[in-house]
Symmetry: none
Subunit: 225 residues, 4 copies
Amino acid sequence: MQPRKAKQSKTVSNDQPAEHAGEETDRRTQLLHIALKRFAEQGYHQTKISDIVVEAGVAQGTFYWHFKSKEALALEIIATGREQLLSAIGQGYRRDAGTLADMVKASEALFVRLFDFALENRYLMGLLLIGSGVDEPVRQSIRETRAAMEQAFRRNMERAIELNMLPGELDVELRAALLMSMIEGVITRWLFGSEGTHDHITQITAKRLAAEAANFEFYGLLGQS
Amino acid sequence: MQPRKAKQSKTVSNDQPAEHAGEETDRRTQLLHIALKRFAEQGYHQTKISDIVVEAGVAQGTFYWHFKSKEALALEIIATGREQLLSAIGQGYRRDAGTLADMVKASEALFVRLFDFALENRYLMGLLLIGSGVDEPVRQSIRETRAAMEQAFRRNMERAIELNMLPGELDVELRAALLMSMIEGVITRWLFGSEGTHDHITQITAKRLAAEAANFEFYGLLGQS
Amino acid sequence: MQPRKAKQSKTVSNDQPAEHAGEETDRRTQLLHIALKRFAEQGYHQTKISDIVVEAGVAQGTFYWHFKSKEALALEIIATGREQLLSAIGQGYRRDAGTLADMVKASEALFVRLFDFALENRYLMGLLLIGSGVDEPVRQSIRETRAAMEQAFRRNMERAIELNMLPGELDVELRAALLMSMIEGVITRWLFGSEGTHDHITQITAKRLAAEAANFEFYGLLGQS
Amino acid sequence: MQPRKAKQSKTVSNDQPAEHAGEETDRRTQLLHIALKRFAEQGYHQTKISDIVVEAGVAQGTFYWHFKSKEALALEIIATGREQLLSAIGQGYRRDAGTLADMVKASEALFVRLFDFALENRYLMGLLLIGSGVDEPVRQSIRETRAAMEQAFRRNMERAIELNMLPGELDVELRAALLMSMIEGVITRWLFGSEGTHDHITQITAKRLAAEAANFEFYGLLGQS
DNA sequence: AATGAATGAGCCTTCATTCAT
DNA sequence: CATGAATGAAGGCTCATTCAT
């Protein structure tokens, strides 16, 4: 008597397609999408349950048939999103060897996958990267997701060191933090850069962005010489 | 009948000294400090006016004699903090020429100034970098502050290009964004890294951090060769 | 299209046997039993329809096919219980004459019947005697049932006076009230006494209890001299 | 910043005088009185905070300035009432010896004190004896209060046995339960007896009621011979 | 400057009940 | 008979803000 748990956990964060237009998708999924969008756009606290249900065209009570609470909803959104995100960036340096250029290419490819994912899941990324107004349990879940992402970068880096493609004396944790920070920041600016300001970064393609980021990652400001 | 605007706008964000202990500091400043601390620690929305006044040991109404509203308070905190922050990192590459090593050193020096400032104003940095739960007007003010910071990096970079110390074809805006992101992330982890996890980053000194960051900035992961 | 009224109004309040285990008993009866149990255990308001249907393993809507409303259900439970209760204690002083000892014995026998009934219908008694959380219409029905019980005691008393077995100047109504109160209280403590406290009353047999009560009824604290 | 605790815990349950008419009494006390009245009259669950504040002519929020929650309010009412009640019936068989008649008189005096108290605190008694719709924590507090009352009767009885005024083989616990039940029932009927029915018990004076109860207590139905 | 009582709009959540299938 | 999704009226509580003193 009360599902409150998706059977198949339909994809949530892919927010572009159908935008809860096609009513063939079920209520639960619809509410999930609307909630994610508003959480990302107006912040968690600023999003009222009534906003969500009004947009969905259902009664207030309906929300609580599908979800235990606002917080449980947010937690589910993030958990689902985390899985998708991690699986999207999951594959790192597969090749057992290669040239430096190969490695840069591999990194670039990873960035492309990540940026593409971010573009298709901008609301999820907004929630994860900006996450405004969430309270502790949700914030915690977001933190964990970002930490998991950072771990992915770190593992890649360690793998590269094993392969002798990166200097062994690297402070891996710190470098992973630097890299992760860079990527988080660039995605934030790319997707949510206030177009009011002179940001032309919002116009760049994922491909180009990935190339620049990978270049910076390996060669720094001085660039590939 | 109501000031609500500091005569001298005593320094706010320097949160270490006096910790609203010495009662020689006035009410207004005391409230400002307490509010900043709680905004940074628990988030803006999560901080109730009643929390602030209880900690200050005054009545609820007193708050509204000193400040127009919660939002005005936050805005003032950020505006004051911005000035301090920008003046702390204001001086860039002064020398008209120099070797590459000089330039790296100069960048490192900038980072040291910034990290030192951050350490002494951790609550302010928490508000600026995490700024959880703030609503739009406040978020806007934070955005502007961070944009101003990024501009500082950008100007430095442009100056370096003028001096032929960095390749001219650099996409300055993007690189500044990457750099700023990196620095923001590293400060966040350094000051607020969940010590629960295996972050050893919280233990590093500002000096060391600055050196690593500058190295990454110029040479990337491959490091100074 | 909807019965909502039992054909045969199967016994409801006899709550020990079958405990809605044997599925030979029908839905309606099952729901009735579950509801009675929970009303007695957690109170009327505290018992949600969803609790009942979950325990019965049916859908929410099913409840409303069998019963018009929660209140109608409670009213039916009480009405059914009232009939059983009154028929259980219905027979009073049949003998046209007798000694004082006979009369005490007869009263004791009545108590035994009542206590036995209570033991076998503890949920019904809980609802009638504690009836926590019920709102007016239901409370009214409970009041009437208890009043009917009190009437039974009263009639017995009047009969005893007619037979010159009790002093004629007795204030029958008041005495009946005193007696009824006593019995209600003793049943409540016997069946629902918080075993947490030092109540050893919960351990006494119906027989013993009846003897004590009858003794007190006729002889008071000073006892049978 | 929030009292929520009476300084002097002004008398609460004495509900007759001034009926929150004299506005010299403070808000908190006024709310306490109104709440008690409505709890007794309509039940706890049925009493909405909005009922209380509307009757008091204040805003909804005002309630929460004075009390932490609806439940805390009820708990406070009961705790305060318990103290008053116990102090009202506190003095038992003081005389170290005396005749049987003395003892009956003493018991009668106790009943008079109790009935007088009940009459002056009918709402409190209603809450304690009927206590409809309260949920667990409050019910627990009521249970404890009634248990404390029963203890008072029990102690009196034990004292009487020590003085050889009552037979030593008495089952004190059971008899105290019987007596307490009797008293609870009689007060309930006296104060809240549905005048709709033929209850003339509602008309009796406290004095007369006490005499009858004491007589029944010691001599049972057969009466003082 | 400060107090503290009061305000009231607003939010989350509950739950009895309905209804199309 | 039964399902389960949906409804919507409440109700408790929060908290920024106001105001008379």
